[in-house]
Symmetry: C2
Subunit: 273 residues, 2 copies
């Protein structure tokens, strides 16, 4: 039986590319927002949902972090890292010299700034809601180009004029798979947790990091988000190497639980790469 995989759409989005990379054969269903992907998993419309959590240039995807902290009991069951390549796309037949307008998402413009300055100086940049929505409008306009991925080019029958036009070749997005359950231990896993404090938080964070350090556990990420109740009060999100069922990790999580307010284990899952 093929699994049903929800993803942050529309078709042609980078999340769809990640879904293809994750499971080519799954039935893939686009949802219009991160909360609707999560809702589809909660209501068993799909077995799992794929959403972005971090980009190497832009940083954390705060919608996903806040969903995990505040609004959902779903767990992270896997991670997928996707290299992000942008392309200059046009309607078949449009030449580079004809281009007067470029459509794309503002982040894509920011990530291709040098290319645009050198290759298309003076063109008008018009923002769209997603790179794939930008590619979709191309057939209406022979003087326009769009910045998008190869999958969007395929779906909307666009022609690739230049590929890998991003300024930074290390542009990668990390996606997580949200499910009702997390994953079994594989021997090379990661555990994501979040917590807050009733009291002066950043000082206590040091104490919690001490529990982790003491056991020689590798900490791969520290992130903070507002607790939304008071300016200067935070939730902290930590990624640890190891599975929550391994004794060292289990003992550490229990020590952390005694120190913090609202420890939430966001899931253990195979580590990428």
């Amino acid at each position: 039986m093929t699994q049903k995989l929800g993803y942050l759409g529309p078709a042609g989005s980078y999340a769809e590319q990640a879904a293809i990379l994750y499971d080519l054969n799954a039935e893939k269903i686009p949802y219009p927002s991160i909360p609707t992907v999560a809702k589809a998993v909660e209501q068993s419309e799909v077995t799992a949902g794929l959403v972005p959590i971090e980009n190497s240039i832009e940083g954390a995807v705060t919608y996903t972090l806040d969903l995990l902290i505040h609004d959902s009991e779903l767990l992270i069951s896997d991670e997928i890292v996707l290299p992000v390549h942008h392309n200059l796309l046009v309607s078949p037949g449009t030449q580079k010299r004809d281009i007067k307008i470029v459509y794309s998402h503002p982040q894509a413009f920011a990530q291709c700034r040098k290319y645009l300055e050198h290759q298309l100086p003076g063109v008008e940049l018009i923002a769209s809601l997603s790179t794939s929505a930008a590619v979709k409008r191309l057939p209406q306009d022979t003087n326009a180009a769009a910045i998008g991925n190869t999958r969007a080019a395929e779906i909307y029958n666009a022609e690739i004029i230049d590929s890998q036009i991003e300024d930074n070749s290390n542009n990668m997005t990390r996606f997580v798979l949200l499910s009702e359950n997390d994953s079994h231990a594989t021997g090379n896993d990661k555990t994501s947790i979040c917590f807050t404090f009733n009291d002066d938080s950043p000082g206590l964070l040091y104490k919690v990091m001490g529990f982790i350090e003491e056991k020689g556990i590798n900490l791969t990420k520290v992130e903070s988000r507002p607790n939304k109740l008071e300016l200067g009060r935070y939730f902290f999100l930590l990624d640890l190497e190891g599975h929550r069922t391994e004794p060292e990790i289990a003992t550490t999580l229990s020590a952390i639980n005694d120190e913090v307010s609202e420890l939430k284990i966001l899931g253990s899952y195979p580590q990428h790469g």
Copy 2:
């Protein structure tokens, strides 16, 4: 001589409100983006520039953090905390029952979700680039309302139908003043720093936090941003209580400098509240 203060515009923005709160008599000049505010300070068009750095609901303003880390040598010379209150505004004469459309910035919609659901169920929400741009369009449309602040209402001659319509009454934004120099010690100061590591970063962060803990210095904030070169590598931003010229702080900063790569002192300035 009145000082010239740049701020993230347009007129009627929350940054303008913060600028008024900071210095009522200063000449206030709006700029269209965070980088253009910084540039105006660097080119001495204004003596200082006011930009948002953190909101109690949305979290860090990553453009400002990345500017401070990567793109500017300006220093933080002060901080201003502004309570954010949203209002439902209309053209004079428009009644609540006439409203079919509401214009605003997507973040303002998100922050007034409950009010909109209860008071204006079924109205169409149309996104604009800023709350103040939303208020500006009101005169063209007698069936429309906008969510914005009292200053925008004043500038664009709009009528306030309901005030403080935000879901969360703890909605606050922290702004920082960017200048060529930071501030002299007042006895109640804060110092902002950022740094990265050549090596496995979050483990070393623990060591750096140890230097701070050891001296009994209060850490009020820990934030991470991607180093933009590699997924999973970060710059860390820390706020410490105390002025960089105080001996305890100076010694600690020197110990941190020996441990990290690229320590940048972002400024010492009087602590809010």
